[in-house]
């Protein structure tokens, strides 16, 4: 609760960090922010070319995989935002050592801005996806109005983990490298490149303890299938997210006083 209040209190600060972060990415380029649209667009076109035109992938019929490129794209967007947020939060305290060592700075907002920046990029990607869906005449369902709720869950989960990662990396720098490995393993254990129906029954338990599976499925349900997500998995995702958020905030604020000593 304190975490949320703190973030709200410093919302102006968070906003300027996110803004600066997004601007910095395309700084000096001629079309600027337009690149954030071009990247997902090219990705989508390439997926379509490779998976639908060349490989003609047809898996898990009835699960929205008819257009495999769209299926993959819809799963990769939230995953990329999640992975990018976590990966960048690992270095965020070190990058801003100047602020921590020389000012009484609310360090807890630092891991949050890469998370938000990632989600903003995800939103642009969803915009491209929606345009593609409209272009091919795919039905757009009103359940999509629930997207903000899922985005919020994603934010809560990612922020909680980002706090833990950001704080721990200050003391154990190896975590940043370790994280790359963990995220690679994690993405392949999450049905993003394949539909969940292909997972052997005995291993399905892995899916249910994986909050990213619940999250990716929720997006696919809302956007591709026009269905409400399964309430059970949503409740689980919400509880995992809440626990991770609270624990993450506690862990981070416990470590925070020692940052200035170590940096």
């Amino acid at each position: 609760m304190k975490g949320i209040l703190g973030l709200y209190h410093h919302r102006a600060l968070v906003r300027s960090f996110v803004k600066r972060d997004l601007q910095a990415r395309y700084k000096g380029s001629a079309v600027g922010l337009f690149w954030s649209v071009i990247h997902p667009l090219v990705m989508l076109v390439l997926y379509t070319f490779v998976f639908s035109t060349i490989l003609k992938v047809r898996v898990g019929v009835g699960e929205g995989t008819e257009q495999f490129a769209l299926y993959l794209f819809c799963g990769l967007l939230p995953w990329n935002a999640f992975a990018e947020g976590l990966h960048r939060s690992a270095g965020v305290i070190l990058e801003n050592a100047n602020l921590i060592k020389r000012a009484v700075f609310p360090a807890e907002i630092l891991p949050v801005y890469p998370v938000i920046a990632g989600i903003v990029n995800e939103l642009v990607g969803f915009g491209v996806l929606l345009a593609a869906l409209l272009a091919i005449g795919h039905p757009i369902s009103p359940v999509m109005l629930l997207l903000p709720a899922i985005l919020l869950l994603q934010f809560v989960l990612t922020t909680g983990l980002a706090w833990i990662v950001a704080g721990t990396t200050v003391f154990i720098r190896d975590l940043s490298q370790m994280l790359g490995v963990i995220l690679t393993v994690w993405i392949f254990l999450t049905p993003i490149f394949y539909p969940p129906s292909l997972v052997p029954l005995g291993m399905r338990v892995l899916l249910f303890v994986n909050p990213m599976y619940a999250l990716v499925e929720a997006y696919r349900n809302l956007i591709l299938k026009g269905q409400l997500p399964a309430w059970g998995s949503m409740a689980l995702l919400a509880s995992i997210g809440a626990v991770v958020f609270v624990v993450g905030y506690r862990v981070f604020t416990r470590m925070q006083p020692a940052f200035a000593d170590v940096l």
Binding site: A12, S16, N96, N98, L99, I172, P257, A260
Partner: protein, 412 residues
């Protein structure tokens, strides 16, 4: 009322030989330790009243910055505690908490937000910040493009525009040109007059003397002396000079069977008094009496005397062969007198040498072995008291030609 209070304030840093040790210690969960402790600050007790200015002095690594960071709340004390009253604004070293990618304006806004100033109020303060920093168009460019002078100007402008109750300044004034330093000092003066509390450290003892109500000298993380500025600064200056001397190699006189003349006694005295003393006032008659032994008389002996300040600055030297004086050729004494000692307050040393008839070979050399202190009553500064007088310039003609000082008036 107390604005800043530190009680048994101590700070230890953990030093790990390599990053692996930190991980190992973490995994052992405190059952084994892999670090060495370094105490940057130890048991510091300070009370700074509201409206008073405390200057912090000390060698590099004495704990000044650590102390300021603890008071600012950037570092947490290892033990003891520090409390502050009101809004604390800080300019720590080169660069406050600025984000290099943000523009000056954004950084100013950010600093304001961190200090808990509502955005609209900070918005209102921005013109004043920009005006004081005098960085022109750079105010809207990323801070990473700033010169170090611009950076400090902005930092100072932001820190002082937010109406803090306590201002902490670490060495910031040593950067920037004279003009800016002057404006900083002016602003700090205005703060003092407005009853703000200031804690600041500088290597410029001149600035410290100028601004501080009280001075704290830190040495190896502990308080060496605290209190009245001129007393503490004087003590620190002595410490600095002695440290300089300790570094310089001292020539030791040759040992062996005593066939050559040697100095048997050196007496520092005043106005022909019998008693030896090591404290004198500026303007007193000062005398150095050198007594020496000549084992194989008659031997021509010349006496050289050098006075140094304890930072190694040579003040004066005189020798009998230069002056055309012939001291006794058997065991005896000579005296060098200084009517109206012109030295200003400080610690000084006397070196005495015995030379051969040509003044080339050293029979005995007692380098800086005899110490004395000079104190002054007048508020002048420097190494020695020069004859002087002030006069008003009357008109343009007086600027070009002026009368020589009558010889009687020039001498005290």
């Amino acid at each position: 009322m107390v604005a800043i209070e530190a009680q048994q304030l101590s700070k230890a840093y953990r030093i790990y030989a390599n990053p692996k040790d930190r991980l190992k210690e973490f995994l052992h969960r405190g059952r084994r330790t892999y670090h060495q402790e370094f105490w940057a600050l130890r048991d510091v007790n300070v009370r700074i009243g509201v409206g008073s200015t405390l200057g912090l002095i000390g060698d590099n690594g004495a704990g000044k910055s650590t102390m300021l960071q603890l008071v600012a709340g950037v570092l947490r004390p290892t033990s003891g505690r520090v409390t502050t009253r009101g809004r604390v604004s800080t300019i720590l070293e080169l660069g406050t908490g600025f984000n290099p990618e943000f523009s000056g304006r954004e950084n100013a806004m950010m600093s304001g937000t961190i200090l808990g100033i509502p955005p609209n109020e900070m918005e209102r303060l921005l013109p004043e910040v920009a005006a004081f920093a005098e960085i022109g168009d750079f105010f809207d460019r990323p801070v990473k493009l700033y010169s170090s002078g611009m950076y400090v100007r902005l930092a100072f402008a932001v820190a002082t525009s937010v109406d803090p109750d306590v201002l902490i300044v670490d060495e910031a004034l040593s950067v920037g040109d004279q003009y800016f330093q002057k404006r900083c000092i002016d602003r700090i003066e205005a703060f003092r007059k407005a009853g703000k509390t200031i804690l600041f450290c500088s290597h410029s003892l001149y600035q410290i003397r100028l601004i501080s109500d009280e001075v704290l000298w830190l040495n190896d993380g502990r308080i060496a002396e605290a209190g009245d500025p001129s007393r503490v600064i004087g003590a620190y200056e002595n410490h600095l000079r002695e440290r300089e001397i300790a570094k310089a190699p001292v020539r030791v006189s040759d040992q062996g069977p005593r066939i050559f003349p040697w100095v048997s006694h050196v007496r520092l005295s005043r106005n022909g008094e019998e008693i030896e003393r090591d404290q004198f006032m500026t303007g007193e008659d000062f005398a150095v009496t050198v007594q020496y032994e000549v084992p194989q008389p008659p031997t021509v002996v010349h006496v050289g005397i050098v006075i140094d300040r304890n930072d190694g600055v040579q003040v004066f030297g005189a020798a009998t062969h230069v002056a055309g004086v012939t001291p006794p050729t058997c065991s005896g004494s000579v005296r060098l007198r200084f009517p109206g000692l012109a030295l200003m307050s400080g610690m000084y040393t006397v070196s005495v040498a015995l030379l051969d008839e040509h003044g080339l070979h050293l029979y005995d050399n007692r380098v800086r072995e005899f110490k004395f202190q000079v104190m002054q009553t007048a508020h002048s500064m420097g190494l020695c008291h020069l004859d002087h007088r002030w006069e008003e310039v009357k008109g343009a003609a007086d600027l070009r030609t002026y009368q020589p000082i009558p010889s009687e008036a020039g001498r005290g």
